[in-house]
Symmetry: C2
Subunit: 196 residues, 2 copies
């Protein structure tokens, strides 16, 4: 019945996820995806009504993946400040893909803002997942005012670093910005919660 637990469906979504990231949504064709999954092009339409529906599935899959990733972080890392460090260090850990292809969240939102205005609202839910999680950590650290604004500024620092380091394909610059983001975070966190 093509349910969400369908194995092939999941393989299609996984391949589309990666290709949308590396080539962009519009620039990825069914042929690109079928080459990866080894199915015929016609077979897509048993699992999805349209390309837009694949995009929807990819966005949902990314949101789920981000949510369980953050849950795993929460379990592994107790100190909220170290959690935020770990978030920033995601840029370091993925430096190769980021300097080559940018950010899967920001890149998709930027592309959709220029084309299918309809799907933009779905895509930016990815940002909200991270924003809410950062707000939670900030509150645990004793920050009471403007937590959302501060959380969004951390996303600003990350997205800006991605855009510039991607434009110049410069990993070293990305690392510099990781350092700066951590210093900014240190300054934002009240002293009594530092160096725990």
């Amino acid at each position: 019945m093509g349910s969400k637990g369908d194995a092939l469906r999941q393989r299609i979504v996984a391949a589309a996820d990666e290709l949308f990231y590396k080539k962009g949504y519009e620039n990825t064709s069914f042929r690109d995806i079928s080459d990866e999954v080894n199915i015929s092009r016609g077979n897509f339409y048993y699992h999805f009504k349209s390309k837009d529906e694949i995009l929807n599935a990819v966005i949902d899959a990314r949101i789920s993946a981000f949510e369980s990733m953050l849950k795993a972080w929460d379990k592994k890392i107790i100190d909220p400040k170290k959690r935020l460090y770990y978030f920033i260090d995601m840029l370091s850990r993925n430096e190769d893909e980021i300097t080559s292809y940018g950010c899967p969240v920001g890149g998709l939102c930027t592309e959709l803002a220029k084309t299918s205005h309809a799907m933009q609202g779905d895509a930016n839910r990815m940002f909200i997942v991270f924003c809410d999680w950062i707000v939670t950590q900030l509150k645990l650290l004793g920050i009471k005012n403007n937590t959302k604004q501060v959380a969004l500024h951390l996303l600003v620092l990350a997205q800006g670093a991605v855009t510039i380091s991607n434009a110049f394909e410069d990993k070293r610059f990305l690392q510099q910005e990781v350092k700066r983001a951590k210093q900014w975070l240190d300054a934002e966190i009240p002293k009594y919660s530092r160096d725990e």
Copy 2:
């Protein structure tokens, strides 16, 4: 002979410039451009060999426009710190277009990073124009160390603010980030050169 001073050629470049910004390069067709300029599609190929050549012309035109814009700023504004404020305020002045379509520089670099790797080096020259100009202002303000790194960080703040405010189509957030960028700049500039 289709020289660079050609009036129709310039009209094509101007229309392509705006469309590449608002719809993206790949997503803009010759039909889109011809609708704007009111010429036949075949006529493009008298002025340009290919779509890529139009992109090249657009990048050159943008660089020229940015350079003369910065020259005009230098003439109009004497204080280097106020020049940098004016640079940051560009986000405010263009808030409608930025929250709708992002940044013409960052957006193009991001798109080309995912597709035509060949042209990426041409596109990021747009960033270099701004980076060099910011470095000049910082040196005039007495900053001697890491001027390039500081200049690039200002671009990071701007690009990040654009990405997030564009994703949420949120002008108010953009204004908040403009304020934050100015505060960051104040902290970067040595005291003796402040409040001139």
